[in-house]
């Protein structure tokens, strides 16, 4: 063999390369980044069902959906389907013996700015940036972060946290133990409920907006500025209510006293253009000044 190599170095090199190539071809693909492009019209609907992994959704100006994924262990199969303006992406096990860790698949999805999204995943992280359209998210432990999104957003998590930064439109979020944060929102409808998670609303209450935040324990924290105009009804059955605002009695409709149960109050700030309802079973409600 050594003599062959010495006599025919080029042939030996070529043979080696061929052998290596054959060996690589026989091995399962691992950590290969795959991608698919889908031509769409305006406002496509993109659905992704994944088990675990990082999911990143961002937007571009093209009328095209790009789905790129990486499965480090090569144990997951990604199936895609397009029917007109609907694109669906599903992940499933390559074989029954694979663990969910082995099936972990990371996605990078790029969609037109105006797109509808539906994402279902169990664990990992989901980030969405600058997408305008209705969205639904259904996760177990996956954390969800939305930035600069606009639309009707519906979120359901078990214990994944949810952070919404500069979101506008309408939001419905339901979690058992996940925290929910709305930072600089321009939302005109908010319905958020958690069991043990904390809720933070740090933004302006829009005129005609309705904001309902409820939990069992944990803290509900709402930040307001002096210019905000809203009616508030805050009540914690077993916990405390900390209020830094100077509310006047509710002047809209039939005057009614605060509930005789628990701690809380009803009041109005400025003209009461928005409606804010904060309720907790045993958590603390904080209404704090941003100024």
């Amino acid at each position: 063999m050594n003599a062959f190599v010495k006599r025919n170095p080029i042939r030996a090199g070529a043979l080696g390369a061929i052998l290596i190539g054959v060996a690589l071809a026989g091995a399962p693909a691992r950590a290969d980044r795959m991608e698919k492009h889908f031509s769409v019209q305006e406002k496509p609907k993109v659905t992704l069902r994944n088990s675990s992994g990082h999911i990143q959704v961002k937007s571009w100006s093209k009328n095209e959906v790009l789905v790129a994924w990486t499965n480090a262990n090569g144990k997951a199969i990604v199936e895609t389907e397009q029917a007109g303006n609907r694109v669906e992406v599903d992940t499933r096990m390559a074989d029954g013996s694979a663990s969910s860790d082995q099936a972990k698949t990371d996605f990078e999805i790029t969609v037109p700015v105006e797109s509808e999204l539906s994402v279902r995943t169990d664990s990992g992280n989901v980030t969405v940036e600058s997408v305008h359209g209705d969205m639904t998210f259904d996760t177990v432990g996956a954390n969800l972060q939305l930035t600069d999104v606009n639309g009707y957003v519906v979120v359901k998590t078990i214990d994944g946290s949810f952070v919404c930064t500069r979101c506008s439109g309408k939001l419905e979020a339901n979690s058992i133990s996940g925290n929910v944060q709305m930072i600089q929102p321009s939302l005109d409808s908010v319905r958020v409920q958690t069991s043990s998670g904390n809720i933070l609303f740090d933004g302006s209450f829009m005129s005609r907006g309705i904001y309902i935040m409820k939990n069992f324990s944990g803290t509900i924290e709402v930040h307001f500025s002096a210019n905000d105009s809203f009616d508030v009804n805050a009540n914690s059955l077993k916990g405390d209510v900390i209020n830094q605002a100077s509310f006047k009695p509710d002047t809209h409709g039939t005057p009614r006293p605060a509930s005789k149960w628990g701690h809380g109050f009803i009041g109005t700030m400025n003209d009461g253009h928005a409606k804010v309802e904060l309720s907790s079973f045993s958590g603390t409600i904080k209404i704090l000044s941003r100024d």
């Binding site: 069902r49 499933r92 169990d122 359901k156 078990i158 214990d159 409820k214 509930s259 149960w261 079973f281």
Partner: protein, 232 residues
């Protein structure tokens, strides 16, 4: 006839028509009408579950249902549960992997939530005052397992050690669901205690109803993750 007497009549009903006084009471009491409807719904669920011809709605239906589930290894006697902790089979989860069973349990959960909801909503009527204050005593007195007690016995136990089957899928998901079931169970216990302490407090009932809903949704998510979606 008062609500308590109606409940006793309901216990002894055995699919026979209700006695006239009970029917008269049913016409005037929204809470008892809701209770009667809920029992009917539970009976329908039981009829789907039981392999044997359906017996009248009496205690023996529930006992035979339990016996059958135990015989199939789908549930364990509470007394033997502690003994067998070291040797747990994934029986509970296999129960939930049967759509009919899963649907039935969810139905029971929803019926339980519905009972609380109806009782909560009917507080304004004078007749419902007794029903409200008797939410818990009703179930303590009755020999028929009420929706709430069935819920407690059969469904809440899932949270402890009974969802091992899901480990095949994802231990992180299993852990998350277990952890959150415990959280919701704790809230249900707290809310129930609060309702007992403050039977006239509508907010307490509203929170209890909300906790039941959370439980039902959590169980639905758990079943959905293993039976129909995600990675199979």
């Amino acid at each position: 006839m008062q609500c308590e007497q109606f409940e006793q009549a309901l216990e002894q009903q055995d699919l026979e028509p209700l006695p006239k006084p009970a029917l008269a009471h049913l016409e005037t009491c929204e809470a008892c009408r809701a209770l009667f409807a809920d029992f009917g719904a539970i009976h329908s669920v039981a009829s789907e579950l039981a392999a044997d011809p359906i017996a009248p709605l009496s205690e023996h239906v529930w006992i035979s249902l339990r016996n059958q589930l135990e015989a199939e290894g789908l549930i364990r006697d509470p007394q033997t549960r502690s003994r067998s902790v070291q040797n747990i089979s994934p029986s509970w989860w296999s129960l939930f992997q049967r759509p009919a069973m899963a649907g039935a349990f969810l139905g029971i959960v929803i019926a339980a939530a519905g009972t609380v909801s109806f009782l909560s909503n009917s507080q304004s009527s004078s007749q419902s005052a007794a029903a409200q204050s008797d939410l818990t005593t009703m179930q303590e007195v009755s020999s028929i397992p009420a929706a709430n007690s069935v819920f407690k016995e059969e469904v809440l136990n899932v949270s402890d050690d009974s969802i091992l089957g899901i480990q095949r899928q994802d231990t992180a998901v299993t852990d998350s669901i277990r952890r959150n079931l415990r959280i919701v169970d704790n809230f249900i216990a707290m809310c129930e205690k609060n309702v007992r302490e403050q039977p006239d407090n509508p907010m307490a009932r509203e929170y209890l109803y909300g906790a039941y809903q959370q439980k039902a949704e959590l169980l639905a998510t758990a079943m959905n993750r293993n039976m129909t979606g995600g990675l199979q």
